[in-house]
Symmetry: C2
DNA sequence: TTTAGGCATTGATACAAATCAATGCCGAGG
DNA sequence: CCTCGGCATTGATTTGTATCAATGCCTAAA
């Protein structure tokens, strides 16, 4: 494997620039909870007063990769708003873990649990380094019940997460391991033409778990892709023959679609 | 198989009485959309004026088992409120189907799609005979954006569905086929003692798909349960030795829990 | 009454993916 | 510099579950 580079550094760098784009006032990285609350696009239509109120009961935190944000069965004391970075949500059974979802900033972590005051069903572990706003659960619920715009924003967020989870389930149950890998690679290459190459965005072991298979199976499946025009060397994907790949694997917007969070707007009666 | 009875009739009877209990004004079955909208408990705190408004753009329908309510990839033109009965939501790929969720009244069918105006990710097929209120999608979205209480109710509904989906995923990925069957039976017997028996609430082929396995596997797994104190004859479950069963299979509230829809209440600023 | 079709059961077999195991590689830390 | 630990690869083997196939049962229609 020749093409390897200090992956974590490269990725953090990439992440930082992505992070900036998501913000509205993108010239500076938020240093206070209040600033961080201004970043996610889907909170745009929430009145500043409400954000102020939330910020008053919130702290901004930075957590390194690997940290556990909360444990399965814990009752949420904070609403966690992911401002930058990625988090994996895992179902746990003693030592077994199964990845249920990957959450990318900007998004809320399991708002369902916070809203209903029920225990988390999943463990949350940091993938990249993250920045999160921790809002006291009670304050968060109060804000949702007193501000209609925020309620709509959270609803949109929850709805999108629901659809993502559905897509994930369909991907796992309706496609073979080989197809999942093929589609994953194809999606990375979306819009590209033959002879370009892309870097895998995360470690292979994480891709494997995202695709619901073991590292080993993933590893074994990669060489197979060569006969469909996709070659993976180290963490670089080479598109030798993209049309061949598209012939074999079919991206489906109802499975592979990227759906952004788009809140509805409050309307007077 | 001796114990069989005209299953569909028995079950419909059971369903009718259950249906009555869910209503608030349970003495009569709703005949108009407006009456039907008064039934679900989680719509209780929505102002009558809003329900009136919804009812104005709605019709009440009855559909027999087996009907398809909507197809995958369709763009929703109605919000479907399930007032009575059960619906299965299936991921479809050409001829392959995979059950993603079973929705029981009273609940909304995939509010996420309706709210975001995106195509359905799943097919909806009627299990038992259902009664549904079909509310024009536009009117539904308008109501959600203009009435905070309704917005909260829908949010609660969406949140609960999210958690159910998470539980379902955990059940499938963290337990073996045998455990899923064991836990399913154990849950039917919750609160019962040894030597009681229960009837399976739905056909075996449906239980199998709910548990993410084929009929055949389910069928083969049932006899195995005998060594753990559970005996299934026809559609009757006999609890020969419940404590033995509980020793082998462990119900987990984070997987097997029944979570009701409990909306938050609007609060003034 | 006969017949046809759906569901359930049972057996034989196939197969995809997990598991177990060994090795190589690379980067971090002593 | 060497060494240790995580990740990736590759091979051998197992195993859980699906698939294919045949039969029986019950119900509903002819």
């Amino acid at each position: 494997m020749r093409h390897r580079e200090p992956t974590s550094k490269t990725r953090n760098a990439k992440l930082m620039s992505a992070e900036l784009q998501t913000g509205i006032n993108s010239n500076l990285i938020a240093a206070t909870p209040r600033e961080a609350l201004a970043e996610p696009g889907w909170l745009r239509s929430v009145p500043p007063a409400t954000l102020d109120m939330l910020a008053k009961h919130a702290v901004l935190h930075r957590m390194p990769a690997g940290s556990t944000l909360f444990e399965q069965a814990e009752t949420p004391s904070f609403a966690l708003l992911l401002v930058a970075g990625r988090v994996e949500l895992l179902g746990v059974r003693s030592t077994e873990e199964t990845l249920v979802e990957i959450v990318e900033a900007p998004d809320l972590l399991l708002p369902a649990a916070v809203l209903s005051g029920q225990p988390y069903l999943l463990r949350a572990r940091v993938l990249d380094e993250v920045r999160i706003v921790m809002i006291q659960a009670e304050a968060f619920r109060d804000a949702v019940t007193s501000d209609h715009a925020l309620c709509l924003a959270v609803l949109a967020c929850q709805a999108t997460q629901f659809r993502r989870q559905t897509m994930h389930a369909k991907n796992l149950h309706l496609r073979s391991a080989e197809e999942r890998v093929g589609c994953y690679l194809l999606k990375l290459l979306e819009g590209r033409t033959t002879n370009t190459s892309v870097r895998l965005p995360i470690e292979k072991r994480l891709i494997a778990s995202q695709l619901g298979m073991t590292r080993e199976t993933f590893s074994r499946t990669l060489p197979v892709m060569i006969r469909h025009g996709l070659r993976v060397e180290g963490d670089v994907v080479h598109a030798d023959d993209i049309s061949a790949a598209r012939l074999r694997f079919h991206l489906d917007p109802l499975v592979d679609g990227n759906e952004p969070i788009i809140p509805l707007q409050v309307k007077g009666k």
